[in-house]
């Protein structure tokens, strides 16, 4: 708590959300040939965003489980749409994760992106506004707006600055996401006609008291919401857009996609789909848990046989987010804490892995595992960072990945031993494919001469990787700094579902 700041009530959530968009507006005025200035401004704007979200966390009252720092202004009154923002335990860490990643994403692109630099930075900044906006929006249409607003910049980032098959991958990403979100849009409109509001807290209240939904309505509405979020997660078998998008996206795109965008799916389940339609969610719990467990195993098995490093990490994401979905349907505080931690952890470890692959790709221009081997002797510093990221992803005790996975497995075993066993075997498989990849990538004989001359990390690169390592260790050794922020909200949430 920072008492001085509380006294003059600045619209802190608006600042966190809209600063990047204002930065994008500023960039449109800059001469496109002045690439250095564009990069510096974007970096500064993203640091400003980080500063605002740190102030937000400073103001966050960890003893309260309800919405905080709410801003509620009428926006389109004739259609009943309001500008309603708020933050609670579900979103606070995810907002922090987003603002934390962006400056380092910008730093990582200084060498990698050299064409249409201006448009690239504008797209990334707009993407940041879209992501944070989706985390803070409490009006369903406002949420839908931010949710869609992420789509166009990401589409452009993949389509313009991506790899060889970028147009195909971008289109697949767009169409997949659009399928889900349009059904959600329909469901939102249905809810409005049913309960007369787009406002989430009001809607939750009315669905519980004055305007309850019957079983069939709940079933279909839940499916419409869940489909949209399951595509975003992505939940098996709706994951097929992800490997394509990751492989074709530029490094920055992959980092944002894996680090933040995928969390939109699991966040949406927790924020909207399950609390709005709790009975339908309970009825379909088994089905979703089985899909999640299948995704864990399937993603891990697919990762085991990949030869392209980016594709491997993409499938590992399918596996890791399966854990989160599993935990979302557990409805106990431990599992849900695990789910939120796992979201943050996955953002950190996978984000860092994609950054590191981007670094080596800039030097060698290949992502095939077979083209590497024996790098540990050539680039020792790089190897140390890479191994830390891998160990974090595996869930080594002492690093961040362990806590979340442990809590989720614990909850899974309690619910059904079969799910627990299958999910746990996913952890084992995870260690297997990650270590296998590390072996082929860093160790073994140095067979390719091109690898001898690869240069080690530069200061700039160490600078943007180190914060990730610090956060990994912090979360691994002292997770309660973060879990205490989410506990009260989760307690309330579980109480609400049990009633």
């Amino acid at each position: 708590m920072i008492p001085e700041l509380e006294s003059f009530k600045m619209p802190i959530l608006s600042l966190v959300t809209l600063t990047p968009a204002l930065g994008a507006l500023l960039l449109t005025l800059i001469d496109r040939n002045n690439k250095a200035l564009i990069r510096q401004i974007a970096l500064m704007v993203s640091f400003l965003g980080l500063l605002f979200s740190l102030i937000m966390v400073g103001n966050f009252d960890a003893t309260v489980g309800t919405m905080q720092m709410e801003e509620n202004l009428p926006w389109i009154e004739s259609l009943g749409i309001s500008y309603h923002l708020g933050v609670d335990g579900f979103s606070v860490l995810l907002i922090l994760l987003t603002s934390f990643s962006m400056p380092f994403v910008f730093l990582s692109t200084w060498k990698a992106v050299d064409s249409r630099v201006k448009e690239f930075h504008i797209a990334l900044l707009l993407l940041q506004t879209g992501m944070i906006g989706a985390f803070v929006a409490l009006d369903l249409i406002l949420f839908y707006l931010f949710y869609e607003a992420m789509l166009v910049p990401m589409y452009l980032i993949i389509g313009i600055w991506g790899g060889k098959d970028r147009v195909y991958a971008a289109l697949k990403f767009f169409i997949y996401t659009m399928v889900g979100s349009l059904f959600m849009f329909l469901a939102i409109l249905y809810l409005y006609n049913h309960a007369g509001t787009f406002d989430l807290p009001l809607l939750l209240e009315r669905l519980r008291t004055t305007n309850p939904l019957d079983g069939t309505q709940q079933f279909w509405l839940f499916l419409a919401f869940a489909l949209s979020f399951a595509i975003k997660v992505p939940l098996f078998p709706l994951h097929t857009w992800l490997p394509d998008a990751h492989v074709q996206a530029p490094t920055a795109g992959s980092v944002v996609l894996a680090g933040v965008l995928l969390k939109m799916g699991t966040y949406g389940l927790l924020r909207f789909a399950i609390p709005l339609f709790p009975e339908a969610a309970m009825d379909l719990r088994e089905e979703f848990c089985w899909l999640a467990v299948t995704g864990i195993i399937f993603g891990a098995c697919m990762a085991l046989v990949q030869t392209d490093i980016k594709k491997l990490i993409a499938y590992s994401s399918v596996s890791h987010l399966g854990f989160v979905v599993l935990a979302c349907f557990m409805n106990d505080v431990e599992s849900l804490t695990g789910a939120i931690l796992q979201m943050v952890n996955h953002g950190l470890s996978t984000g860092m892995l994609f950054l590191m692959i981007g670094i080596i790709y800039e030097r060698r221009h290949t992502r095939e595992l077979a083209d590497y081997g024996g790098l540990a002797g050539v680039v020792p510093v790089y190897s140390v960072f890479f191994i830390i990221a891998v160990l974090s992803s595996i869930g080594l005790p002492g690093l961040n990945g362990f806590v979340g996975e442990f809590l989720i497995l614990f909850g899974a075993f309690r619910a059904d031993a079969v799910w627990g066993i299958l999910a746990a075997s996913g952890v084992v498989l995870g260690a297997l494919y990650m270590l296998k990849m590390t072996k082929m990538f860093l160790f073994g004989p140095l067979v390719h001469d091109a690898n001898r001359s690869v240069s080690d990390l530069q200061t700039r690169e160490i600078l943007y990787l180190s914060p990730f390592v610090i956060m990994m260790v912090w979360l691994g050794l002292y997770p309660s700094t973060f879990t205490k922020l989410v506990q009260p909200t989760l307690n309330l949430y579980v109480q609400m579902l049990q009633n």
Binding site: S78, G159, I160, V167, L171, N193
Partner: protein
């Protein structure tokens, strides 16, 4: 016979259309007086002065009149209400933009003749009257006047085979549809005891008669031809492809908008008879599905926009269905808003096409390749228009779809909303293709880099900005749209 006396309201009500007709006549006369056809600039200026005059006359209606209807003017032939003024506003502003773009477009295509401006003025005047008309005869005369002008515009590049073919097809089809329209009107006239005005027809209480349903259906078919509703749409792609791009833009926006305004008024007043709602539902579903599916595979941008326009006619029928369902809270207020949003985006899209095409040849998808590199602002404007047509948030098109689907669900037509959403999804695919071409592909080597005329740049820019502004702050237009629909119901 009573002596002809005109009230002040009657004089004011015809001023916008009158200004346009007079401008058209002056165009023709000055053209006769100028045998060398040299004063190209002046013709454009004259057309703009005329449209601006009409706009001023319309503004004076807004200032003088109240929102509610003035009642029947000219013995029930027309009225002056907010609904009609809104329609007139869309048409006059569209004609102003078309005139702005016409100068550069016509001279670069070597067909710079005063008739173009005169025809746009005549058809605009007729369209304004169509939006205001409240009886069968004035409605029919307005439709015929605008149609004749637009037939000629479609074949304006008479040296070209495709243009003549398209215009001829349009003329034959149009004559057919006029036949349907007139037959339907005759039946209604006979059944309702020789009443011409909509309110008298409604008061005559003949709408339960089965024959009345036939008459209303025939009128509907007449309009369905004009706005391109499946299965009466087959002329649309061919005519769009052959006609001058600018004339297509004019047709796509103004003919569709004025016809929908008139159809809306006709149906709201008369109720449309038995089975009208089922017929509209069926037509709407078929139009949404076939229009969007047919647009998927078009390589020609004009054909793609033609099918997209057909699909939008399908969406625009949903407010009519909602209104006829009799739920008085949701009176289909989304129709005027959606038409305004559609007009802005379609104008921007055709504006970009006129900049690409000297005549009618350059309208292939590949012609857009790399446009973002050579003309970034034009590409941005086109992208905004396409995104709005696809109904993606922060555009007016999104708000329009939101209103339409919300009303459909509210009135219990969930199936229409589901089909609307599914077909919107299909539409996203074909609206993305030009975006891919503009932003993701490299320019063709033969790409000519003639700067777009300033009129085109201005139109695309203004429409693009309006699309975004009304996507973020739509309150004013939503309210206007709602009140205007309330005024026709009295």
């Amino acid at each position: 016979m009573e002596p002809l006396t005109l009230s002040k309201a009657e004089i004011l009500a015809v001023l916008p259309a009158g200004a346009l007709f007079v401008t058209g006549l002056i165009q023709l006369l000055t053209d006769l007086a100028d045998p060398n056809k040299t004063s190209r600039q002046e013709k454009t200026h004259l057309a703009m002065i005329g449209a601006t005059g009409a706009l001023v006359a319309l503004a004076s209606l807004f200032v003088q009149g109240t929102a509610a209807s003035t009642g029947e003017l000219y013995a029930g032939a027309m009225t002056d209400d907010l609904f009609g003024r809104l329609g007139a506003g869309v048409i006059i502003v569209t004609s102003l933009f078309c005139t702005l773009m016409a100068g550069g477009y016509l001279s670069s295509s070597g067909n710079n003749r005063a008739e173009f401006h005169a025809l746009v003025s005549f058809s605009a005047g007729a369209m304004v009257l169509l939006c205001q008309s409240t009886n069968l005869v004035s409605m029919f005369v307005a439709i015929e006047t605008l149609s004749l002008a637009v037939y000629v515009l479609a074949g304006f590049f008479r040296q070209q085979k495709a243009a003549s073919e398209g215009a001829f097809k349009y003329f034959v089809m149009g004559a057919f549809s006029s036949g349907f329209l007139l037959l339907g009107m005759a039946i209604i006239y006979g059944l309702s005891g020789a009443s011409l005005s909509f309110s008298a027809i409604a008061a005559a209480g003949a709408s339960d008669d089965a024959l009345f349903a036939v008459g209303a259906l025939l009128v509907l078919i007449g309009f369905a031809f004009k706005v391109g509703v499946v299965p009466f749409h087959s002329w649309v792609p061919d005519v769009y492809q052959g006609a001058p791009t600018l004339a297509v833009g004019w047709m796509a926006v103004a003919v569709k908008a004025s016809s929908f305004f008139a159809l809306c008024r006709f149906l709201y007043h008369t109720g449309g008879g038995a089975y009208m709602d089922q017929i509209l539902i069926a037509l709407s579903i078929v139009t949404m599905i076939l229009g969007n599916l047919a647009a998927l595979n078009q390589q020609s941008l004009k054909r793609m926009l033609a099918y997209s326009g057909i699909a939008h006619s399908g969406y625009l029928m949903i407010p009519l269905i909602v209104a006829l369902s009799g739920d008085d809270i949701l009176i289909g207020a989304s129709l005027p808003f959606y038409l305004c949003a559609y007009a802005g985006t379609t104008l921007a899209a055709f504006g970009v096409l006129t900049a690409l095409s000297k005549a009618t040849d350059k309208d292939q998808l590949g012609d857009l390749n790399g446009l973002a590199k050579s003309r970034p602002l034009l590409a941005l404007g086109f992208t905004v228009a396409l995104i709005s047509l696809a109904g993606i948030p922060l555009t007016a098109g999104f708000i329009g779809k939101l209103m339409i689907f919300r009303d459909a669900i509210g009135a219990g037509f969930v199936q229409l909303a589901v089909i609307g959403i599914l077909t919107s999804l299909v539409s996203v695919y074909y609206y993305l293709r030009p975006i891919v071409a503009m932003w993701f592909r490299d320019p063709r080597s033969s790409f000519d880099l003639i700067p777009a005329p300033w009129g085109v740049q201005f139109t695309v820019g203004a429409c693009g900005i309006a699309t975004i502004v009304f996507g973020i702050f739509p309150d004013w237009l939503v309210e206007l749209s709602r009140i205007s629909v309330e005024t026709i119901l009295g």
